[in-house]
C-alpha cells in the first residue's frame, strides 16, 4: 500500500465513489440514499475527529457542536437567500474551522484533558446560544423546504441523490486529506505531539502551531459534514443538531476502527454506521446507542489499536512463522 502515491490514491477513491454512486443509482431506492448519506456523514465526522484525536492525541468531545455550527450557518444563510449547497458546505467549513481555531487558541496551551473538558463546555455554550436565538428558529427549530428535484445543465436530478453525491465527494476529500497528512511532514509533527509533546517542543517542533492547524482542519471538516444536514433532514432543531450521538459516534468509530491511520475511521464508521441503521429500523434507537457505548468501552479496554490494529497483529504473526 505504501507504493500508492497521493494522486493515485485520490483517483482510486474517486473511482470507488463513482462505483458506489452508480450502484445506488442502479438500485434506485430512495431509502438507500437516506441510509448511506448518514453513513457517509459519519465517515467524514470520524475522519475529522481522527485528525485531531488520533494523530495528535487530543480528545474532542464537542464534535456535535462543530457539526451543528455547519448546519446552523446553512440555516442562517438560507433565511437571507438560498445559496447552492456546495457553497454552503464551504461556508460551514470556514465557520467551524474558525471556531476550532479559537477553541484551540484558548485551551491548547494547557494540558490535554483541559482541552477535552473545554470542548464539552463549548457544545453546551453554543447550544444555549442557538436555543435563545430566535432568528434561526430558537428551541422550536427551523424548517427548510427541500426541492424535490434539481435542474442541472439540462438534466433533472433527484435532490436526495444530489445531496448523497455531495456527501460522497466530501468523504473522498476527507479521506484523501487524512491520508496525505499521515504521510507528510505535518503528520510526523502531529505524531510527535501525540507521543511526547514535551520532547517534541524541546526538539523544536512548533507544537502550538501544529495543534492549531489540527483543530482548525478537524473543525472545518465537521462543519462541512453538517452544512447540508438541514437540507437532508428538512427540519432542524437544536437537540437534533447538537445530539449526543454525533459526539459519541465520532469518538467511537475511530476508536473501534483504529486511530493510527485513515483506514480506522473508515472501517469503524462503515461498520458501526450500517449496524446502527439496521438496529434503528429493527430494534430501537435507544438500544442501538447502548450498543455503541458498550462497544466503545469494550474496544478501548480490549483492543487499544482497534480493528485495524488487530488485523495488523494477525498479519505480522502470519508473515513471521515461528
Amino acid at each position: 500500500m505504501n507504493r500508492v502515491n497521493t494522486a493515485k490514491f485520490a483517483l482510486i477513491t474517486i473511482a470507488v465513489g463513482a462505483l458506489v454512486m452508480a450502484f445506488a443509482h442502479w438500485m434506485h431506492v430512495d431509502y438507500l440514499y437516506f441510509a448511506s448519506y448518514t453513513i457517509l456523514q459519519f465517515i467524514v465526522l470520524a475522519t475529522a475527529w481522527n485528525i485531531l484525536g488520533g494523530y495528535c492525541g487530543y480528545v474532542n468531545f464537542g464534535s456535535a457542536a462543530f457539526f451543528a455550527m455547519g448546519a446552523y450557518s446553512s440555516v442562517f444563510i438560507h433565511k437571507f437567500h438560498p445559496l447552492p449547497v456546495p457553497v454552503l458546505i464551504v461556508i460551514g467549513g470556514i465557520v467551524s474551522g474558525m471556531v476550532g481555531f479559537g477553541m484551540g487558541y484558548l485551551t491548547l496551551r494547557l494540558r490535554g484533558s483541559f482541552f477535552a473538558i473545554a470542548t464539552l463546555a463549548l457544545a453546551v455554550v453554543l447550544q444555549t446560544l442557538v436555543v435563545n436565538w430566535d432568528f434561526v428558529g430558537g428551541s422550536r427549530g427551523a424548517y427548510i423546504i427541500r426541492p424535490e428535484e434539481l435542474e442541472f445543465a439540462g438534466i433533472t436530478v433527484n435532490y436526495i441523490e444530489y445531496l448523497f453525491a455531495l456527501m460522497l465527494l466530501l468523504t473522498v476529500i476527507a479521506l484523501v486529506t487524512a491520508r496525505t497528512i499521515e504521510r507528510s511532514q505535518l503528520g510526523f509533527g502531529f505524531a510527535t505531539i501525540r507521543d511526547d509533546e514535551l520532547a517534541a517542543e524541546a526538539s523544536g517542533v512548533p507544537t502550538l502551531r501544529l495543534k492549531l492547524i489540527a483543530t482548525s482542519l478537524s473543525g472545518a471538516f465537521m462543519g462541512m459534514a453538517g452544512a447540508p444536514f438541514p437540507y437532508y433532514i428538512g427540519y432542524l432543531q437544536p437537540s437534533s443538531a447538537f445530539g449526543l450521538e454525533y459526539a459519541v459516534n465520532s469518538i467511537a468509530m475511530p476508536m473501534i476502527g483504529g486511530t493510527t491511520s485513515w483506514v480506522g475511521p473508515l472501517v469503524g464508521a462503515v461498520l458501526l454506521g450500517s449496524a446502527q441503521q439496521y438496529a434503528t429500523v429493527t430494534i430501537s434507537s435507544a438500544v442501538n446507542l447502548l450498543i455503541v457505548g458498550l462497544m466503545l468501552v469494550a474496544f478501548v479496554i480490549i483492543a487499544p489499536n482497534g480493528l485495524v490494529g488487530l488485523v495488523q497483529e494477525r498479519l505480522r504473526a502470519w508473515r513471521r512463522p515461528s
Binding site: V59, F61, A116, V131, L290, V292
Partner: protein, 291 residues
C-alpha cells in the same frame, strides 16, 4: 427600586443555597480530577444513578431520599473501587490514560445514561419528603426548604471530606499521592491502593449528591450532561484539588447562575458555567486558590 432590591437579595440567597449543593456535586470530581488526575467525566452519570436509586426506594417504599443515599454509600464505594481497578489495569498502568481513558469514561457516561433511559424512560421523576414544599421567610428573603436541606447536607458532607483528607492517615496519603506518587511509594505505602480508596470515596459522594439533586429538581437521565460543565468549571475555578477553593467557586457559580436566571431567564443559565469555565481556562488556569 425596592422590589428589584429584594429580588436581588432573594436571587443571591437562592444562589448561595444552590452553590452549597454544587459543592456536594463537585466534591467527588475534586477528589478524582483534582487529586488523582483522573478525568472522570462520567461522574455526573453516577450522580444521576444515585438520583434514580433514591427515587426508586422513595417511590416504592417511602424511604427518605437522603437516608437511601447514606445506605447506598458502601455500594457506590465498591462501584468506584471496581471502576478504578479496570481503569488502572487497562489504561493507567500502560500510560494510555489521556486518549483511551477519556474515551472509556465517555463510554461509561453514555452507557449509564442510555441504560437509565431503557429502564425508567425519559419522563421526569421526583421524590416526596416532608421538607419538599414548605419554605421559610426571613425578612424579605424567602427560601424554600427543598433548597435549604440539600445545602446543609452538602456542607456536612463537604466538611467531613475536608476533615478526612487533612486529619486521617489515609486522607493525608491521598493528598500525598496527588503531590508525589513516587515519594509515597518510598514511604512504603501502595499508591494504587490509596488511589482505589480515594476513587471509591469520590464515587460514593455521587450517591449523596444524586439524592440531593432529585430533592431540588425533577430528574431525567440526560440532566447529568448539564452538570459535566458545572462540576469541571467549579473544580478548575477553585484550583485543582483545593477543597476550600472548590467551596468558594461553587458558591460563586451558584450566585452568578441564580442572578442570570433571575434577570435573563433560566434558558441562559447552563451557558454561565461553561462560559466561566472557558474564561478560567483561558485566563487563569490555576484557579482561584490554585497552587
Amino acid at each position: 427600586m425596592d422590589i428589584s432590591f429584594s429580588l436581588i437579595i432573594n436571587a443571591i440567597a437562592a444562589g448561595l443555597l444552590l452553590g452549597g449543593f454544587y459543592a456536594a456535586v463537585t466534591a467527588g470530581v475534586s477528589i478524582s480530577f483534582g487529586m488523582l488526575d483522573i478525568v472522570n467525566i462520567a461522574h455526573p452519570a453516577f450522580i444521576i444513578l444515585g438520583s434514580y436509586i433514591a427515587y426508586f426506594f422513595n417511590a416504592n417504599y417511602g424511604v427518605d431520599p437522603i437516608l437511601v443515599s447514606i445506605i447506598a454509600l458502601p455500594a457506590f464505594y465498591a462501584l468506584g473501587a471496581a471502576v478504578y481497578q479496570v481503569y488502572y489495569q487497562a489504561f493507567e498502568r500502560r500510560g494510555q490514560e489521556s486518549l483511551r481513558g477519556l474515551a472509556f469514561f465517555f463510554g461509561l457516561l453514555f452507557v449509564t445514561e442510555v441504560s437509565l433511559i431503557l429502564v425508567f424512560g425519559v419522563d421526569y421523576r421526583y421524590v416526596e419528603a416532608a421538607y419538599i414544599g414548605p419554605s421559610i421567610h426571613i425578612g424579605v428573603i424567602d427560601v424554600p426548604l427543598r433548597m435549604v436541606v440539600p445545602c446543609v447536607v452538602s456542607l456536612l458532607l463537604f466538611g467531613a471530606i475536608q476533615l478526612f483528607v487533612t486529619r486521617t492517615f489515609i486522607g493525608r496519603a491521598i493528598m500525598a499521592v496527588s503531590q508525589d506518587q513516587m515519594a509515597l511509594q518510598l514511604m512504603g505505602v501502595d499508591p494504587i491502593k490509596i488511589k482505589r480508596v480515594a476513587f471509591g470515596i469520590s464515587i460514593a459522594t455521587a450517591a449523596v449528591a444524586g439524592a440531593l439533586l432529585i430533592i431540588i429538581q425533577p430528574v431525567e437521565p440526560s440532566v447529568g450532561r448539564e452538570y459535566i460543565g458545572r462540576v469541571f468549571a467549579i473544580c478548575v475555578l477553585g484550583g485543582l484539588g483545593s477543597m476550600p477553593g472548590t467551596l468558594i467557586a461553587a458558591m460563586l457559580l451558584g450566585v452568578v447562575e441564580s442572578l442570570t436566571s433571575t434577570f435573563y431567564g433560566p434558558s441562559w443559565a447552563p451557558a454561565v458555567a461553561f462560559g466561566l469555565l472557558l474564561l478560567t481556562l483561558a485566563f487563569r488556569p490555576a484557579g482561584l486558590l490554585g497552587r
